[in-house]
């Protein structure tokens, strides 16, 4: 981090841009009046309203105003900094301003949307927010972004199909790649499957081909029987300690991809599950390896242990697995009776819906049951209430197969802590944005693919593995990376205030604060996300956070209470 004390800043000349966001804001608040109001505020020399400030038209308008009105601070009053702050910072930068001389005022998510029914009060609140934003703008200081060097090496944790796909792609793109697998061999859950849907390919053949490709890649190093012990560093510069069957191995890498998959739920206590005549789909897969195995009467029950209060999710792969296995049994013995008891058949898209039709055409029976009237497994029959005939039907069975969901590994928690990345409520990893950043973590340089994020079939796991490789490649392809500049620090002038109490070390959720050899507190800039927890807890007020300094926050409070 460069010190910015020597950068000269002229007296503030603030421009305020009020966005209508179509009618999201403009439909409730008079944006033109708000822009006029802004112009009455101290140091504000220009105000305007835009239909969409984020459109190319709006952005050019900001740049034009910076030039024409010699603005040195820009305030945009619009949606939310979560999605739009980077864009506006970049815009002011393109017009020659330091990107941190931009301030965001949230008048949509935190005003027009939440006060939809009170337009007048919302208008007053918007005025308050704008006054506060402009006041803070006068106190803004230019900051430099932190630069980190990128080590062009990739590490993938998890050697299933998703992890293997990611590793192969990165190695083919020319990056030194490490693939880490906990088990003695690669392949993950696919090792335990007989065939793969929707194309009915032998799992063993599929895996052999992929493993062969990995073995022949020169810059791809595989560690099996290996677990991650510790992870230090940050994007571009991670150092990882691995436990390779009892031996410590140290690996330096620029990025990390998590692809540790998920496991199939064992339904103890449900439907008389015994692992021999009442089995899971996964157990049936291994029974099918014996090609003479061909039971006469098979009943499959879907959503076992899923779509309930405990696991309120559809595992998305079980219908396809059940239908695939039902077709195999029917093919082995066309006279076999195979019945699938389901709640909703999840076979979306082209390939899967076609499989479902084939199953019906081949005489596989599908019966719907409701969660209120669950099937009952008895010695020779499965009894189920059929809503269509409004009666209980008894279906003969030699074999009952329970379709259980994929559930998160218990390891996720530990790995999540090592990586400092979050899990969602079912224990799966939580990505940066469900919609638009499906394989990124919020933490820079760490990515996620496959069933560790959410139950996924083979096709999707491979696709996500490749996607994670692409995202990783966008970092590895550069020698250097800019990271957030609005971070915490211990300014030189405050050094004597710090008494070394270490409260900050303990509260930092990103483990970004260390004590150096001299016993002084130091904030590792590339790790700091600027959350401010350390600053708020610092007993001596020695730490400060750039872009959210006490002076800046106080200026907002004073502005709020000034009218």
């Amino acid at each position: 981090m460069t010190e910015n004390n020597d950068i000269q800043v002229d007296p503030p000349r603030i421009g305020v841009f009020v966005c209508h966001c179509g009618s999201n804001i403009g439909g409730l608040l008079d944006c033109k009046k708000l822009a006029e109001y802004a112009e009455t505020l101290p140091d504000v020399v220009y105000g305007e309203d835009n239909l969409y400030t984020c459109s190319e038209t709006g952005l050019s308008s900001i740049k034009k105003a910076i030039k024409e009105h010699e603005l040195n601070r820009v305030v945009v009053c619009s949606c939310t900094p979560r999605t739009h702050e980077p864009l506006f910072r970049k815009t002011v930068q393109e017009a020659g301003l330091n990107p941190y001389l931009f301030n965001f005022v949230n008048i949509r998510d935190q005003c027009s949307w939440v006060h939809m029914k009170e337009p007048e009060a919302a208008f007053d609140k918007a005025k308050d927010l704008i006054r506060m934003g402009a006041a803070k703008a006068t106190k803004l200081e230019p900051l430099n972004k932190n630069i980190v060097n990128i080590n062009p090496v990739a590490m993938i944790i998890g050697g299933g199909v998703s992890g293997m796909s990611a590793a192969l792609s990165l190695s083919k793109q020319g990056f030194k790649t490490y693939l880490i697998e906990k088990e003695p061999m690669l392949g993950g859950l696919v090792n335990d499957l007989y065939t793969l849907a929707p194309a009915n390919v032998k799992s063993s053949e599929f895996l052999e081909k992929m493993k062969g490709e990995i073995a022949s890649s020169s810059n791809l190093e595989v560690f099996t029987s290996t677990v991650v012990k510790s992870i230090q560093g940050f994007v571009g510069q991670f150092s990882v300690d691995l436990d390779n069957d009892g031996t410590l191995v140290k690996v330096d890498t620029g990025i990390i991809i998590v692809a540790i998959g998920a496991k199939s739920l064992k339904p103890f206590g449900l439907y008389g599950y015994d692992g021999s005549n009442v089995v899971t789909q996964l157990e049936l897969e291994s029974m099918l390896q014996d090609e003479s195995y061909s039971p006469k009467n098979v009943v499959m029950i879907q959503c076992v242990g899923a779509r309930n209060a405990e696991r309120n999710y559809c595992s998305s792969v079980c219908c396809m697995t059940a239908i695939k296995n039902a077709l195999i049994l029917k093919e082995r013995d066309p006279s076999a009776k195979v019945t699938v008891l389901f709640r909703d058949i999840y076979m979306p898209g082209i390939f899967q819906e076609k499989m479902y039709k084939k199953a019906r055409d081949n005489g596989i029976i599908f019966l719907k049951y409701s969660p209120e009237k669950q099937p009952v497994v008895e010695q020779d029959v499965v009894k189920v209430h059929n809503e269509f005939i409004n009666d209980v039907v008894a279906i003969p069975r030699d074999m009952v197969v329970l379709s259980t969901p994929l559930v998160a590994y218990d390891d996720n928690k530990e790995l999540g802590q090592l990586l400092k990345v979050p899990l969602q409520e079912n224990g799966f990893f939580l990505e940066a944005h469900v919609k638009l950043r499906p394989v990124d973590f919020a933490t820079d340089g760490i990515f996620i693919g496959g069933a560790a994020k959410w139950p996924a079939d083979i096709t999707e796991s491979i696709s996500q593995g490749l996607a994670a490789a692409s995202r990783a490649s966008t970092i590895l392809s550069s020698e250097m990376l800019e990271v957030e500049g609005a971070t915490a620090c211990l300014p030189e002038v405050n050094k004597n205030l710090c008494k070394g109490c270490e409260v900050c070390l303990n509260v930092c959720p990103f483990k970004a604060i260390v004590k150096n050899q001299n016993g002084d507190i130091e904030v590792i800039q590339a790790l700091c996300k600027g959350c401010g927890t350390c600053v708020a807890t610092c007993t001596r007020k020695a730490l400060t956070i750039r872009h959210f300094t006490n002076e800046q926050i106080l200026s907002e409070i004073i502005a709020l209470t000034s009218e």
Binding site: S23, L87, M347, P348, A467, T474
Partner: protein, 438 residues
């Protein structure tokens, strides 16, 4: 990001500027690979730009897409060819040559500032395609408000001057002198294309097939889901206040009909994958506009396999007054007030029932892009039986031709997260080819 340029001179071509094409282009560009992004419409953004909100987070669709549009337009490694089609392709993997046909928009892209004065002066009003014909636009127009590039386009089939030789009001009123009636279609030849990504998205069933069985286009209170999406949207034709097209009345009871044109032997047999979810989202948003709203979803199977999807449906039932009815629809009639009355078989009770509604929304089937066959011919790639791009069952980025990859709804109906992930996957494969090419 400080992007280092790939030393290899090979570039990538991405066909289709929807969210998938945009993501693929951005990933490649951020790897230091030059990308040409070709979009047939006047602006990039695709279907996602037309949606009001997105499930399961109910984020405003254009709001989360817009930063990506801007990023594309300012990225030094991305060249956007909007209002353009792929004309021809030669060569093989690692070394394609592509001709792009850039249609004349009769507006200078580098001069127009999208001030809108021309449109205000244009005397011709035509149905707006982006708003699904629920609103009018002028013959000179912005494809949509936040469109990128942010320049006007003249609809040459509707412009008075271009069709009848008189008017030129837009030209007279443009201070910037951005109007150029002499502009011609232009062929742009792109050499050194190492890899191609096809992200051409989808069309909708109602665009091609009549939905007379459901009274679509006959009864004004039967609309398709994309129309309803525009009706809900704050920047749409009804400015976010849903009103019936027959009488402007706010609906209190809406029926959402699933699998329209899909999952049956008469129509398309496949499942469109996204309708159960977007229907629930639409019912939720409509309920936020009108807290008295009752929504009825007539479905075959509820398909909610994605992350947080099942919970989303539960929320719909518990908090937004949505009732899901497993059923088959037999017909739709209207009464004297044009209220739709649907007749359906309730598959839970096995009874034939009727329900009177204020509005019916049809979840119509996602179908392959209409230009798909033509493009596939030019590219030399195979299509599957429904005319989506044929892919490997396990490696969904792979088409039948080496060096040509695909992602998103161009090969199978799917939701936005999967399209985005697939786009990155296709980018990874394209980067492998480009970096391996000598």
């Amino acid at each position: 990001m400080m992007v280092q340029m790939e030393s290899n001179s090979k570039q990538a071509l991405v066909i289709g500027g929807g969210v998938a094409g945009i993501q693929a282009a951005l990933d490649l560009a951020n790897m230091g690979i030059k990308v040409h992004l070709v979009e047939k419409k006047p602006s990039i953004g695709g279907r996602m730009a037309q949606l009001d909100k997105t499930f399961p987070t109910n984020d405003c669709s254009i709001c989360i897409l817009a930063p990506k549009l801007s990023e594309c337009s300012r990225h030094p490694n991305i060249t956007i060819h909007s209002f353009s089609d792929v004309q021809s392709i030669q060569g093989t993997t690692g070394n394609f040559t592509v001709d792009i046909l850039k249609h004349a928009r009769y507006v200078k892209e580098d001069v127009c500032i999208n001030c809108g004065v021309c449109a205000a002066k244009c005397p011709t009003r035509v149905d707006d395609e982006f708003d699904r014909y629920l609103r009018k636009r002028n013959a000179i127009y912005m494809y949509y408000l936040q469109g990128v590039p942010a320049v006007m386009t003249i609809d040459k089939d509707r412009c008075l001057y271009l069709t009848k030789g008189a008017c030129r009001l837009c030209e007279k009123n443009c201070d910037k002198e951005a109007i150029d009636f002499e502009q011609q279609d232009e062929i742009i030849t792109l050499d050194d294309i190492g890899a191609i990504i096809v992200a051409t998205g989808y069309d909708l069933y109602e665009d091609i097939y009549p939905l007379t069985r459901y009274g679509y286009k006959k009864h004004r209170n039967v609309v398709s889901a994309i129309e309803f999406e525009r009706m809900l949207c704050a920047s749409g034709p009804q400015e976010g206040h849903v009103k019936r097209l027959s009488d402007g009345k706010e609906p209190d009871k809406i029926g959402f009909l699933q699998c329209i044109g899909s999952r049956n032997a008469r129509d398309k047999e496949y499942c469109s994958s996204v309708c159960c979810m977007y229907t629930t989202k639409e019912a939720m948003i409509a309920h936020e506009h009108n807290n008295e709203l009752e929504s009825y979803v007539f479905y075959i199977d509820l398909r909610a396999g994605g992350k947080g999807f099942e919970k989303f449906l539960t929320r719909g039932e518990e908090e937004y007054n949505i009732k899901y009815i497993k059923s088959k629809i037999s017909e739709i009639q209207v009464d004297a007030e044009e209220n739709p009355i649907i007749t359906y078989e309730d598959l839970e009770s096995n009874e034939i029932k009727q329900m009177k509604l204020d509005l019916v929304v049809l979840a119509t089937c996602i179908i392959p892009s209409r230009d798909g066959e033509d493009l596939a011919d030019k590219l030399g790639i195979e299509l599957e039986e429904n005319k989506f791009i044929k892919t490997n069952a396990f490696f969904s980025a792979e088409t039948s031709k080496e060096g040509v990859f695909t992602c998103g709804c161009a090969h199978e109906p799917m939701d936005i997260p999967r399209s985005v992930a697939e786009a990155s996957a296709a980018a990874a494969r394209a980067a492998e080819v480009i970096r391996g090419a000598v």
